[in-house]
Symmetry: C2
Subunit: 501 residues, 2 copies
C-alpha cells in the first residue's frame, strides 16, 4: 500500500503541488523496515519508566512511591552501581590524554603512558589510529591471548580493536549476512540470549535461529538441541553462524571444556562460522568451573578444527573486574579468515575511521596489566581481586535468596554478572494476560518496579521456553543494596501471588 | 552461480562428508556483497603504501628513498600532523577519568569536571550513558546551537551524541534506506564528496545519486544541477536524501546564504530529507565567507520550511580548532522528526549502548568552552585562535602555490581543511592509462608518494567530472612542511610532465 503512495509522489509530485503538506519522507510507515523489527529489552520500556521515576523523585521527592530510589539491576553497568574503577586504568588514560600529568603518576604507569603515546599518530591520543587499532595494542592483545591460552600462537594481525565488544560483533555479523529466501543467512543464537544478537539479526535482515539452553542442568548447551535447531532452520534459511556466549548472558552458565569440544565439532561438521562472545572471561565464581577459551579448545583439538574452523572471539573492557563501559573498549580475534576477506572487513572498518583511542588504551591496560615488581602491582591485584571477590559473594547470595522464595527457582550463577530466575506465575494472572494480550513477565517486572523500585528486565526480552517466565537481574548493586533488593523482591512476589490466587 | 553451490551444501552436505575441505562459510565469493562495493579512498592503497614506506624507513633508514620521511596529507588528522591539543579539553577529560587529578586543575576546569561527572551514572566516566548521550551535554549542545544561530530555539531532546560525526551520519542514512527497484532510496551526494557517503550508500545498498559541484565558481552548488541530478535519478530510484557538506570536503568551498536558501527550497519542493554535514563550521578562512547553519537559514526562511522540512545536522570534535579525532566525539540535531521515528532511532542506538563518554566530554568542551572571567579563558582563546590563524595562512599558501605551477589550478580554500587542485595530465599519459586500464590520478598520486614522500588522495576517490583529474591534500602539515610539500610537488609535476611530453 505504502509503496504505491511513494511511487505516486514521484510521478504526480503532490509534494510540489502542495508543498506545505507532503507525505513525510521519513515516518514510521516510510522508513527502513528492518529497524522497526529491532528490539533491545535491556533499555526497553521498563527502563524508560525507571528513568522517569528517578527524575520524578529528584524533582518532587519520593512521597509518591514506596521506596526512596530506584535500584537499577537491568544492565551490566558496574560503575553506575558504585563499583570503583581500577586506579591503574584511569591513571594511564589520564596520562595519555593530558601528558603534563604523567610526571605525577607512579613510575610504571608513566612507562605505559609513554608506550601508548609512542604508538599514536603525532604521539597524541587525539589522532585517529589505524582502522584496526594501534599496532602496539594489537600486539599486546596477541601476547595476552597467547599467555591466557598456555602459549598457543596468536597473530597480532588477526586482532582488531573495536568500539566495545558490540562494535566487533555487529561488524562480524554484517560480513556474514547475505542471500535471499532459502539462501538467506541463519544465525543460531542461544535462548535466552543477549539482545544485541536478536537486534542485529533484525537490523541486517538475517534469520534468527533459536537453540534452547537447558535450564534444568544450569543452562548447559546440549548438542542434540543444536542439531534440532539447525535441521529445523534449514527448512527456511541457510544457517551460517553459530553464536555462543560463554560465560553466559543472561544465564550465568560457564561451559565445560567437554561441552565446548562438542560445540566446536558441531560447528565444523555443519560448516558454520563460530562467534564466541567471551566478554565475561574474567567473571567465573564457581570453584568447580573454569573459563576455557574457544581458541584454546579448538587449537588443542588439533586438525581439522585448528586450521579449518572459521571463528571470531570477542572481548570487552566493559565487564570483568574493570567494568569500563563508558570508554567503549573491546577487541575481536579473527581466526582462520581468508586474508582477502580480512581486507574487506578492514575496508568497512576504515569508513568509520577507528575505535575510540581512550577505549583502546583501556583495553591495553586489561591485556597488559602491572606485573610483579611494578610499583602499582599490589594495588592493582588488590583492586581486581576485591571486585571479583565481591561479585562472587553476590552471585551466591542472589541465587540462594531466590531459591528460598516459594515459586522462584534460580540456577547457580557460575559466572558473568546476572541471575535469570524462573518465576511460577499464578495461573489466574497468566490467563488474565492471555485475555488482555499482555506479556506476563513484562507486566510482572513493571509492577516490581512500581511497587519496590527494583528495575529488572523481563525474560521475554532474552527469549525463554514458551510457558516459562523469567527475568534478568544483575548482581552489581552493592551487597547491602543487593540484600535490600532480595528482601524487597521476596515481599513483592508473595504479595503478587496472594493478589492473584 | 555461487548461490547454487551454497544451496548444494545444504542439501547434499558435502561439508559433513568431507569436513576437512568444505567450501568456506566466509570467503570473498561467499559474503555480504554490499561490503565488497564499499570503497574508502582516504585510507586506500596509496595510504597503505605510505604506511609501508614509513615502516621501511623506521627499520632500514631512508636510503632507498629520495626523502627522509613521508608527509601524510591524506587525512584530516590534525594531531597526527603535530597540531597541539587544546589544553582545556584535555584537562577536563583527564579530570573526569581520574578524579584525583581534579584538585590540581584550574578552578574553572574543576567545575566542568564536576558538572560532567554529576551527569554520569555513579558519577563515573566508566558508566554507560543514556543511548542518546549524557543529558547535561545534550542540553549544553542545545544552548550552543541556540547561541550560534542567534537565539533560534533548539530542543535538547532533538540532540543525539554520536561516535564522531560518522556514527550519526551512518545511523541517519540507515533509517532512510529502504525500498526495492524504483522505490529504492536514492541519496544525492556532491561530486566530489567525502567517501563516507559513498561507502555507506554501498553498505546499505541505496542508490548513489551524484550532483556536480561547479569547480569554475569555487565549487559552488548550482540549483539547476540539483534539478538535473534529481530528474535523472527518478528514472531508476526514489531520491529521498540530499547530502550537503558545508564547508566542503574535499573542496574547501563555503556556501553562501543565498545558495543555502536555494538548496532548502529545492529539498522542500522534492520532499527530500536534508543531511547537513557541518563538521567544519569553525573552519572558515576567507574574509568574504561566513558559515551559515542550515538550521538558522531554514528557521529564518519561515514556513513552510521551518516546520516541515525534515533534516539533520552533524558536528564533530575531530575538526574545527580542536582536531580531537581519536576521542570519537560528535552530535547530530534531528529537526522536524516524527517523535515515533525518533523512538525507532533511539532503539537502534540502544543496541550499541552509547557513544564513548570521553568523546561526549570533548564535545561538551567544544559547545561549552571557557567564558570571559574563567581562569583558563585567555589560554583557551589563544590556543583556538592560534590554530585557526595558522590554518588560514596555510589555506592561502596552498592554493596560491598550486596556482603558480603550470598545468595545476586550485580554487580558493575558503574553509574546511583541504585543497582539491585540478591537474592537467599529459595527453600521452592519459592515453597510456586508457590502454592499460589504469586510473590516471591514482597512478599520478602513487608516483608522487614514491618519488617525493608526499601522500595525497586521488580525486577519483571523491568523484570528479569525467576527463578531469584532481587530488585532495590537507592543509594540516606545519607551515615549514607545507612549504616543503608545495615545492616538492612542483618539482614532481614538472618532471612528470617532461617525462610524458
Amino acid at each position: 500500500m505504502r509503496r504505491t503512495i511513494t511511487r505516486a509522489i514521484r510521478y504526480t509530485t503532490p509534494a510540489m503541488t502542495n508543498p506545505t503538506n507532503p507525505i513525510p519522507v521519513l515516518s514510521t510507515e516510510n522508513m527502513n523496515p528492518a529497524i522497526k523489527e529491532v528490539q533491545y529489552a535491556v533499555r526497553g520500556p521498563i527502563v524508560a519508566r525507571a528513568v522517569e521515576i528517578e527524575q520524578d523523585i529528584l524533582k518532587n521527592g519520593s512521597g509518591n512511591y514506596n521506596f526512596e530510589s530506584v535500584i537499577k539491576c537491568n544492565i551490566g553497568d558496574a560503575h553506575a552501581m558504585g563499583q570503583a574503577p581500577i586506579t591503574f586504568i584511569r591513571q594511564v588514560i589520564a596520562g595519555i590524554v593530558a601528558p603534563e600529568v604523567i610526571p605525577h603518576l607512579p613510575e610504571s604507569v608513566q612507562k605505559k603512558c609513554h608506550e601508548i603515546l609512542a604508538g599514536c599518530g603525532g604521539k597524541s591520543a587525539g589522532a585517529y589510529s589505524a582502522s584496526a587499532g594501534i599496532e602496539l595494542i594489537r600486539k599486546n592483545i596477541a601476547s595476552y591471548i597467547e599467555k591466557r591460552d598456555g602459549g598457543i600462537k596468536c597473530d597480532w594481525e588477526d586482532v582488531f580493536l573495536s568500539t566495545g565488544a558490540s562494535g566487533g560483533i555487529v561488524q562480524c555479523l554484517k560480513m556474514l549476512t547475505f542471500g535471499e529466501g532459502l539462501t538467506r543467512t541463519g544465525v543460531m543464537i542461544p535462548t535466552p540470549q543477549y539482545p544485541l544478537y536478536s537486534a542485529s539479526i533484525s537490523e541486517f535482515q538475517a534469520v534468527r535461529v533459536n537453540y534452547y539452553l537447558d535450564e534444568e542442568t544450569n543452562w548447559s548447551l546440549k548438542i542434540p538441541e543444536l542439531e534440532r535447531s539447525y535441521e529445523e532452520a534449514c527448512k527456511t534459511c541457510t544457517p551460517r553462524v553459530l553464536c555462543i556466549i560463554n560465560p553466559g548472558n543472561p544465564t550465568g552458565n560457564v561451559l565445560s571444556r567437554e561441552n565446548i569440544e562438542g560445540i566446536v565439532k558441531f560447528a565444523h561438521s555443519k560448516n558454520l562460522f563460530l562467534m564466541a562472545d567471551e566478554v565475561y572471561q574474567d567473571n567465573v565464581y564457581d570453584a568447580d568451573c573454569k573459563f576455557h577459551s574457544f581458541k584454546k579448545v579448538i587449537s588443542e583439538l588439533g586438525e581439522p578444527y585448528k586450521s579449518n574452523l572459521m571463528y571470531a572471539s570477542f572481548h570487552s573492557t566493559s565487564k570483568g573486574y574493570m567494568g569500563e563501559c563508558g570508554l567503549r573498549g573491546g577487541y575481536m580475534e579473527l581466526c582462520n579468515w581468508d586474508p582477502e576477506v580480512k581486507i574487506e572487513m578492514i575496508k568497512l572498518l576504515s569508513s568509520r575511521l577507528c575505535p575510540p583511542v581512550t577505549g583502546q588504551a583501556a583495553m591495553n591496560c586489561v591485556v597488559s596489566p602491572p606485573v610483579e615488581g611494578d610499583d602499582v602491582y599490589e594495588q592493582w591485584v588488590d583492586e581486581r581481586d576485591g571486585v571479583l571477590a565481591d561479585l562472587k559473594v553476590k552471585a551466591k547470595l542472589t541465587a540462594d535468596s531466590f531459591n528460598e522464595i516459594p515459586g522462584v527457582s534460580c540456577q547457580s550463577v557460575q559466572g558473568a554478572m546476572y541471575s535469570f530466575p524462573q518465576i511460577t506465575m499464578p495461573e489466574k494472572f497468566v490467563k488474565h494476560c492471555e485475555v488482555e494480550g499482555l506479556t506476563p513477565d513484562a507486566v510482572y517486572c513493571m509492577e516490581l518496579l512500581e511497587k519496590k523500585g527494583i528495575c529488572v528486565v523481563p525474560g521475554s526480552g532474552f527469549g525463554q521456553r514458551p510457558g516459562t517466565h523469567h527475568f534478568r537481574m544483575t548482581i552489581l548493586p552493592k551487597k547491602h543494596l543487593m540484600e535490600q533488593v532480595m528482601s524487597g523482591f521476596g515481599e513483592f512476589h508473595n504479595e503478587f501471588c496472594e493478589k492473584w490466587n
